[in-house]
Symmetry: D2
Subunit: 368 residues, 4 copies
Amino acid sequence: MAKPINIAILGASGYTGVELLRFLLSHPHVRISALSGDSQAGKSMAEVYPHLIGIPLPALQKMEEIDFSGIDLVFCCLPHGTTQAVIAKLISEQGEARSGRGSGAMGVKTPANKLKIIDLSADFRLEDPAVYAQWYGHAHQAVALQKEAVYGLTEVAREAIRHARLIANPGCYPTSAQLPLIPLLKNKLIETGDIIIDAKSGVTGAGRKASQNLLYTELNEGFSAYGVGTHRHTPEIEQGLSAAAGSEIQVRFTPHLVPMNRGILSTIYVTLAEGKTVDDLRQTLQETYENETFVKILPASVFPSTAMTRGSNLCVMGVYADRIPGKAILVAAIDNLVKGASGQAIQNMNLLYGWDEGLSLPSTAVFP
Amino acid sequence: MAKPINIAILGASGYTGVELLRFLLSHPHVRISALSGDSQAGKSMAEVYPHLIGIPLPALQKMEEIDFSGIDLVFCCLPHGTTQAVIAKLISEQGEARSGRGSGAMGVKTPANKLKIIDLSADFRLEDPAVYAQWYGHAHQAVALQKEAVYGLTEVAREAIRHARLIANPGCYPTSAQLPLIPLLKNKLIETGDIIIDAKSGVTGAGRKASQNLLYTELNEGFSAYGVGTHRHTPEIEQGLSAAAGSEIQVRFTPHLVPMNRGILSTIYVTLAEGKTVDDLRQTLQETYENETFVKILPASVFPSTAMTRGSNLCVMGVYADRIPGKAILVAAIDNLVKGASGQAIQNMNLLYGWDEGLSLPSTAVFP
Amino acid sequence: MAKPINIAILGASGYTGVELLRFLLSHPHVRISALSGDSQAGKSMAEVYPHLIGIPLPALQKMEEIDFSGIDLVFCCLPHGTTQAVIAKLISEQGEARSGRGSGAMGVKTPANKLKIIDLSADFRLEDPAVYAQWYGHAHQAVALQKEAVYGLTEVAREAIRHARLIANPGCYPTSAQLPLIPLLKNKLIETGDIIIDAKSGVTGAGRKASQNLLYTELNEGFSAYGVGTHRHTPEIEQGLSAAAGSEIQVRFTPHLVPMNRGILSTIYVTLAEGKTVDDLRQTLQETYENETFVKILPASVFPSTAMTRGSNLCVMGVYADRIPGKAILVAAIDNLVKGASGQAIQNMNLLYGWDEGLSLPSTAVFP
Amino acid sequence: MAKPINIAILGASGYTGVELLRFLLSHPHVRISALSGDSQAGKSMAEVYPHLIGIPLPALQKMEEIDFSGIDLVFCCLPHGTTQAVIAKLISEQGEARSGRGSGAMGVKTPANKLKIIDLSADFRLEDPAVYAQWYGHAHQAVALQKEAVYGLTEVAREAIRHARLIANPGCYPTSAQLPLIPLLKNKLIETGDIIIDAKSGVTGAGRKASQNLLYTELNEGFSAYGVGTHRHTPEIEQGLSAAAGSEIQVRFTPHLVPMNRGILSTIYVTLAEGKTVDDLRQTLQETYENETFVKILPASVFPSTAMTRGSNLCVMGVYADRIPGKAILVAAIDNLVKGASGQAIQNMNLLYGWDEGLSLPSTAVFP
């Protein structure tokens, strides 16, 4: 067997960090070499996550204490806004930024000794510095890298991902919205002007921060809307859809919080393009994804539940006729921590190194 | 104190029946005189609901065994489709059907010895026999009563309710959708052509039927859509909205199932009428409901959660600007078993008998 | 109607505070005159609990800003350890401490103008200063009051409560353990040497503190033990049981955390006294509680669930034969926030003022 | 790679059946050749479990339609009581019953072409026909096989399992109780006369039967005891403990239902043997399980939660001092569907065929 690659996880003490570990610990080709967690530095992972007791892992370090010289791949799970400077520094110590985004013909494979980065934050997801500045309230601090970064929606950008140095791993809501919509927009099957995405997420999407409004007692037996009209995943969704449609798309997007740990379900209201039918939509989705391990199209009689994806890297979707002629409803479900975050990151890692794309990733839900 | 009125609950062994009991047991002016539950006839309520052990209540009977001669008020919690024949028979034994629906000027108060009926099924909610037949697959069997019945959305139809003989208690989804939309439509503040209602319900809405897909293990930690494009609450919503707007309205309505017992949250996408603002909408809602005990309008910074209504007769709503100019989002929450069913029925009973409208009805949520 | 009494709630921003409000807001004889919440001072209750929006309530103040001159009754919901000094100061400003605990013959009714206090903390629950010091790690700072305080387990200490000035409202676990055990010990029906209480609580028992281990995501879909062998409710339970038995009793007590908001269920393992049967136990419980509104004894075929008490002031219990001769199992359920805290406090208030003991207290569970 | 073994699952439409599939689908050495599900015969698995849509699997058949000639291994997930006749028939068609239970020296390896059976029902767990008859109310119908069957508590009976033809896979509660207790009893560290097991289970333990008392709405936000003093896992636990102790042991065992899908936590009250300490217990557990992949001993400061085992084959346990000298408390957690059922069955299969014992079995919990 080939030498395993050495992995560092920055921000390993958050939920996406520990979910990466769940997959990496059963992956045959990797070695977990460093874990950072600034506020918890010095602790073992088992002190931070008791369910990891007994598993040999490096202790948490401060980021600056990590020796990156032997590291092949960094998973970056740091907070939005702080990540760009960290990654810029890491890369500048390894070489210059290169043009990459969208250049399917990039061709040159990164030398094996070059550091690769899969960033799970939002920092490199938006291509346009102006859009970034508008939604995040400050100028992007690594604009060249922002240009280079490949947006890692695996099924859509597989070739670019294979050759990327810096992968901007998609957000959870955007993954659930883009996988059903992109093929329909590419094929001009739906109108671009009135897409509404009503999305519902489990609580892990909010992370592990000790916050009163995330307490069990505040959320259990309750369902609520939040961030109505202002959620930062909106431009990320619009960027992907606009690229697919070849024209500027604005969407209405409302997130909600469901009393469950894992799962996102997006209900998407669309208008059929002139002359198109719901069957056309379903057929296009089936054809687009027929060879995909992790995307399933349901028949018209079955509706997606997040439970069908729990703990797995699956995206399950269906398309349904509305009773108003010319209207259709798409419903897509994922596990926000897996296909919506760490699982897709592992899928991208597998692509990056030429391994079987599904290596160490569950494709059967933990049901019931 | 005046003589209490005698109440019969038909279909008392379902969730809306037992929720009626929760309120009626603390109501000062009623006596629970008969309870029917065909499949459980002969059992005590405590055998069917152990939490009622020790509370003196009549045993469950078959409906035909009930002596209605001393009954003043019937709450009808029978399944959809079977109710109309039952009620027609009850009323024909008491007198003739009278014209009533919508006739605010009806004037004549029902004599105290006349049977009154509050029906929690869907059987008398739709005015138009053709619409009923279309959605329920068979002709209505009591068309005269269907005409007479008053649709009991309390805050909207208070005067008609006071003088009704037969009240068609609104459905849960329709209550959550109509309370925010009706004032806006009446005041021409929103467009009528593109209303989308994305609604989410707790599981009690599905009743107490032993069914595999309602098992704890099937629903817990999962969120799903169901009945996409086909739910029977659609025409009920459209009827109310059309009446408010003075023109025919079609809506897109999608229900979802949330892993919680109680609560409905409806997220409603609307387009502002020419020249109108979100503030106009909020102000109209505030003015419409400012003297209501059970309807609360939230400020722009607070989003409704079903937890704010849990166990209470409240409807909590807010209106929010979308980031796309000219678009707004309404969010409304209720407890589906209370304001969405049994609580509103009690509210209507209180109106019917001239009592304080909130008598025995909680106006503070059971939170946390 | 008589003049309402004026109430202050200290620590109103916690869960027991807001649960007191749920009852007090529908109570006919009280006025909520002051609310303290040091860390939230200056805010309205609706800012702290959005479900209270629209309800007229005094704003939260710092404790020292409250004018107690017009206050008749204080509910004290402050943290353990800090309460004793606060209450000592309040009372010293109103008069001297008087001998009270256990003195059924105390006789003198407190003048109406004297401040009364119902303390929901643990500070005055333990009679013995040495036991207090041992479990809380510091000397009690109001020993005379500790002597005076009446332990407010309503059904057990009703007469003393009527005449108390300072009521130490029982803990949640101790309420669920003492109500079934005290009558059995008083009547010498069980052995005193090997009582084991395995107790399970919903998460509201832990309060509203922003703490990582109380996050929704950490607790949902998990069940755990905590504080094994060391929980501070142990001496409180032992004090009540010892008094009932007339001899020193030690118990084994283990608390657990259940993924639900409300409810405590205690499973209690006992050995029958020589010659006694499970039926003897059940009969004694039935006789003891037959006239109680809030205590229900289940038949042998029905097992308690916390759902039978949800949102209500009920305690539901059963006693069951073990298959090993001479052994029995008691199971008791309460809502920890109601009978285990704020509901019992209201029940005690009603006693204190000679009102109907159940005034404003639900005696039917919010089920389902 | 060697030829895969052919597997049939009888009763594949239940929760243990579908959980077996979750593991088998990622197992490199097996082929799923037949699935039975009498009431669902003719359907695809995806019709019965929509989360399996898209996975190629044999359709469900009636048991009698299965051709067992090519089958190497049967997992039997049939209801208790019906299984013994089925297995007796299967085996009689393949050869005679052989003496096996407990015969560590059995020696002869079953030829590869002989059918092997892993039974997940309770039918072959009890060695003694009289005990079986007493608890199940009828005589055992395959007494010779009952004698032959090896009780498959993997960590305890590894050698016997390797050579078994018929493995009686342990029950969920018994697994959680025996793994901590057996080493302590074998080493005479605890008294045998007063063991109490207070156990709490998630709802999947009750199976997928459409039953009113298993509805989401009946169980959510409630915690209850059930089967107090009468649960059929009691004799299974006592059999294992008695064998370990070398003397007859009776335990007190009470099961409870937790509002969660997966997980069992057993809290076990024991008395230390003369001169023994809690540290002795912990050390013995650590030594017993130090080389086990799936058993973890927690330090004294950490308490088990079922969340630490969710979705994995782990058993996590701790031992804690009670405050009463000479008493200790053991707490053990498993996922009832994995280590408590299908996971342990796979672990036993791996042993049976000489594969890595953990093949296809998760050893990291799905947390959060």
